[in-house]
Amino acid sequence: MLLLCGGFTACDLIEYHPYECDAEGISNHNASAIAQIEKNCAQKDTIRFITTGDTQRHYDESVDLVNAINSQANIDFVIHGGDMTDFGLSKEFTWMYDILNKIRIPWVAIIGNHDCLGNGYMMFKEMFGPENFVFTANFLQVVCLNTNAIEYDYSTPIPNFDFIETQLNSAKTKNLSTVVSMHAPPLSEQFNNNAAKPFEYYLTSFPNLLFCTHAHDHKTKVTDIFNDGVLYYGSPSVEKRQFCLFTITAKGYSYETINF
């Protein structure tokens, strides 16, 4: 047995179940990343961030992604747009976390539909915190939403309009620009499309909505989903070896894609 196990200890090999839901002490990652982002960006006039997503079951490419992100200069934060796991398995979360946490700047993760599978949503909640969250980088408010409606059987309000309304009021009172990030975009099969138009209504009510970002479609795309002038920027999946980079100032924003 000792010969068989070679250089690693038996302890590493103990697993009670692939869905055992043991976050191994990783807890509330987004909250600590947000604290850093808000502190680092408090005085910045230019905010630069990267969006990526759908890294599921592509560990090799995800390592390359992290190296590519780390080689970029002057980036403030990274948004992972969801689907870090393919099957919602507990180990998939910790494997991917080990890779992504080598990103040297703060990064936050949004829940994807694959991350919800089985008890994956519980694993996500433990590791990253609430599924809807918001942070402020000086003049910019980034609203991150769970949009994986069909995974929840209407037992949880998705998208959560109460949460969106709170951020809407906050953007109005603090005079903030807003970017809305999500995994599945409106009108995709995951979205609660019965609520797509109210969603559009809420988003267009924000005083200065710059654009939305999403993942889920596995390809780089820019769409004006509701033909109302609000652009949705889709991040490619990691095996496309590309990510999106946004530069935002008080005057406007620019968008580019970076290959790696």
Partner: protein, 216 residues
């Protein structure tokens, strides 16, 4: 009484008498075959009495699993049924699982004059199902577009290898005790390992330890 009626009654009485006497002869033969058949019937069902118990630690089917099993084909094949408990950890509840394991044990080596014997290889195939409403065998139709996920969250197919030692120590209650370990991996881990150099064998292997107590 008419003649014809008398004749008819006579015929009925005689035939009834002969039927009854034939019946009693048949009864004794029937009793014998009944005893014989019932013996075979009971023996048939007796084969379903589990021959051994197993208690296992870890191995991706629970923190602790307990169950029963049968061995056949000169003890080269074994079938286990195991029930396991997965602790709650960061989930909202703990979970019960059920496992069917088929094990092939090609060699039984008796160690000299000792009561010990060694099974240097055990090869297993096992299916584990998690008994929890949030997991599905197939993605629910109507909820998802067709072929949306194409895998089961509820059922895991596993392959394992291991070794076992057995101590032939009859007591009032059992014949022998075996100690085993097993290294295994499941379908989804193997699929992930196959396409990623990043994952190492140790990432996808699961170790189990267990005890088997043979009663029959």
């Amino acid at each position: 009484m008419k003649r014809s009626t008398f004749k008819l009654l006579t015929i009925i009485t005689l035939s009834l008498g002969s039927f009854i006497s034939a019946q009693s002869q048949e009864d004794s033969t029937n009793t014998n075959s009944y005893i014989h058949n019932i013996k075979r019937y009971k023996e048939g069902w007796e084969r379903l009495i589990p021959q051994y118990y197993k208690v296992q630690y870890a191995g991706s089917i629970g923190l602790v699993s307990i169950g029963v099993g049968w061995s056949y084909c000169k003890e080269r094949l074994e079938t286990d049924l195991l029930w396991g408990i997965v602790p709650q950890y960061d989930d909202s509840r703990s979970k019960l699982t059920f496992t069917i394991r088929e094990q092939y044990i090609p060699f039984h080596i008796i160690l000299g004059d000792t009561r010990w014997s060694v099974e240097p290889l055990t090869a297993s195939f096992f299916m584990n199902t998690i008994l929890d409403g949030r997991f599905w065998e197939e993605e629910p139709k109507g909820k998802y577009p067709s072929s949306y996920y194409n895998f089961s969250t509820k059922v895991r197919f596993n392959l394992g290898i291991g070794q076992q030692i057995t101590l032939d120590l009859p007591t009032k209650y059992h014949k022998s005790v075996s100690f085993y370990y097993q290294l295994s991996s499941c379908d989804l881990y193997i699929a992930s390992y196959a396409t990623n150099k990043y994952l190492k064998l140790k990432d996808i292997l699961s170790l189990a330890f267990g005890v088997k107590v043979r009663v029959l």
